[in-house]
Symmetry: D2
Subunit: 236 residues, 4 copies
């Protein structure tokens, strides 16, 4: 396997990229001048250095350069590079005091969070579950962060006890399950509800799911039965 | 303009059919044997004879053959053929005593009604508005059946007074506006609400709209802002 | 099966139309006023009356109204309506003295002929084979007009002997096989070549096939092997 | 502009990648573990080190590792790294004695060459022009390698005089212009023909273009006029 094949294999893992386009990427890189490739390689390396995974919501985020040292002193102190994905950091949403800490939206993956964030319709906190629960599944816990979610709920329910001492935060009042509308998304909704029911009840925290019904562009004539059913049930 | 062009023009009015496919239809008919075309022409003619427009919901429907005479005697009496779309007939939904007459769903067009009917998630009555209200529009009333809707609401609000004497029916309690989620659909929703507000209030009838939110297949990552906003607002 | 279902079944046979669109056509017709449907039914009936199948090329064509009697006197004489698809008529291409009778293009179906005719790149005669030859096929002759093609070649090779007495026509010099580039199209090309080889050789008539190579819009990067092979072989 | 935006900008230059997918690539990289990104960055850097541009056909190719030193000693001698795209190297097609040196196919870009090579229908030499000639264009020479092509033709016409001493090679007998079938491709064909006419004539070298006509999958019914015209002209 020569270098063209090796790179093709790696590009094939990129989201939405097949064998053919992966190979085109390699030929594209071959034909670009050296500085383009050098710059790309450098940025990819830097990206991983500047990326951290938020210890609160598990989102990947870029650590702002000027704060890098104060946020991640452990890695810097003993002369090592800051650990990639070091988990004792807090992202700009979780660390922002203007974020509404009374609601917590549980999403499947980072791109879901970015999409909701970009829409500016929600100002609360997030939690990245890390996947959906397959309908036939034995070993669920190892794949999604259900235990971490329970711990997060416990922490947010009594913010005064929070180690970071962000005393001004509101206590968590509602958990919003926000999964795609698909058999697996619906199954994940049920599974998570059941798992967090006890801890939420104890803390008097409401559990809700995103509303289902007609979405933008939906035409009644072409709607599926489930969508019509939900739209009718949720009429108002 | 020869007969090929004339037929092409007519087929071009069929839903979803452009010039090219319209012409293919004509060549297709030319190449089929005579009995196929004859049969088609006959069925089209019969269709219009068997079709009536319901005087209650304005839906087009097929008059069952065995009832044709008793349902539409007026046309027959004076020796004329029964008028197509004669409006003193009642369709199998409006005339069915098992239909729930306490709810009335207002839809844009026949195919919307057929879609909801087929989904079996709704057992109430319908009303075909006959179109959407364009956002910039002066002469709305002439295009949609807003006056007919008001009269229908009046009638259904006090079923005992109904001329047909269907005394067992329930009084109308809720009007469900069921338009597509688009600027024009939303505008029609607002327009109809305003127009029927007085009559509905007087009769203590609730006005609702189909629920908006995530529809089947919606992925959070690719949702538009309005859908996210509705899904969040209508969470439960 | 009511009339809606019956018409749906018929529309489903239209080229490119599935169950769903077929049903939409029926609802569309139900909602149109009576004169639209009446007009459509009338034109469909008239179409079959005005259509004839050319006795020379087997194309379906519209018999010009003013010539209908003189062209098809046989049917008229004995008081019957002119027979649909009566085969003793000649279309406007075959009957036109400015058509180049030295070349004969053999195509699969009527719409292929109309497409080539419309392009104005060919001024010769046509012959509609009536189908392609499936690759695995026992009973080919009954499906395509191979015997009729041989007879046509015989007639055109010696135009003086032609019953219609069109003495000024040129003798046939070349037969152009014009089938789609697909396994079945290629197979039909081979089959027809073999079948007409003897008669063509005897009359000193050349057999050719449409050129293969890059077609408009073809990008080298995405070309299949066969197209590249043909483009290379047919370079000039 | 943070690192996410910078990387998004770079990925946007990848063939077929828009803003949205470019950003997804970045989030994808953020979520992958460090070794994946490290490996990718390393391979991209290595790719540019192992890539050379062939001095004969201007194709980019991977220099086989074991030959790297002997092929590119110049760069090594004076202590520098071998120059990326060093132009005194010869690719595996140009340097292969089994390549038929009597034909030279002129293509637009590397991916065209790879496509033809992969099809195994051609065993001759190639020349990468480096682009197409826009129809309205003043400063053409600076963009495509027309002078280099003329020099190449001169060299290949008299192979004995070639500096590399590959005496066994055949003299060039035919140049095949192989551009996409589009207005710009056709224009480039004309332009290159005119430019190389003199030198080719002097050396008695034929100039041809790839054959045009029906390509695989073309249906007669849907063919454009140019394709029909070419298919008819190039019938055989």
């Amino acid at each position: 396997m020569d270098i063209v094949d090796k790179l093709t294999e790696i590009f094939k893992e990129f989201p939405g990229i097949g064998e053919r386009q992966a190979k085109r990427f390699v030929y594209f890189l071959m034909s670009k001048n050296g500085s383009y490739a050098e710059n790309l390689a450098l940025l990819i390396t830097d990206l991983k250095k500047e990326v951290a995974q938020c210890g609160e919501c598990f989102r990947f985020f870029i650590v702002p350069a000027r704060n890098a040292e104060s946020i991640a002193p452990a890695g810097g102190k003993n002369g090592k590079n800051p650990v990639n994905g070091g988990i004792n950091k807090t992202c700009d949403i979780c660390g922002n005091t203007s974020t509404d800490s009374s609601v917590l939206m549980v999403v499947e993956k980072d791109s879901d969070l970015e999409s909701v964030k970009k829409s500016r319709v929600y100002n609360g906190k997030y939690f990245i579950l890390g996947g959906l629960v397959p309908i036939v599944e034995k070993n669920t816990k190892s794949k999604i962060r259900i235990e971490e979610l329970k711990e997060k709920i416990m922490r947010e329910a009594r913010p005064n006890a929070n180690a970071l001492g962000l005393a001004s935060r509101n206590a968590l009042q509602e958990i919003i399950l926000a999964f795609s509308v698909s058999p697996q998304g619906n199954h994940t909704d049920s599974y998570v509800r059941e798992q967090i029911k006890n801890v939420a009840d104890k803390q008097n925290i409401k559990i809700s799911s995103l509303g289902k019904g007609l979405s933008t562009g939906t035409e009644l004539e072409y709607s599926d039965n489930d969508t019509l059913k939900n739209a009718l049930k949720n009429r108002q």
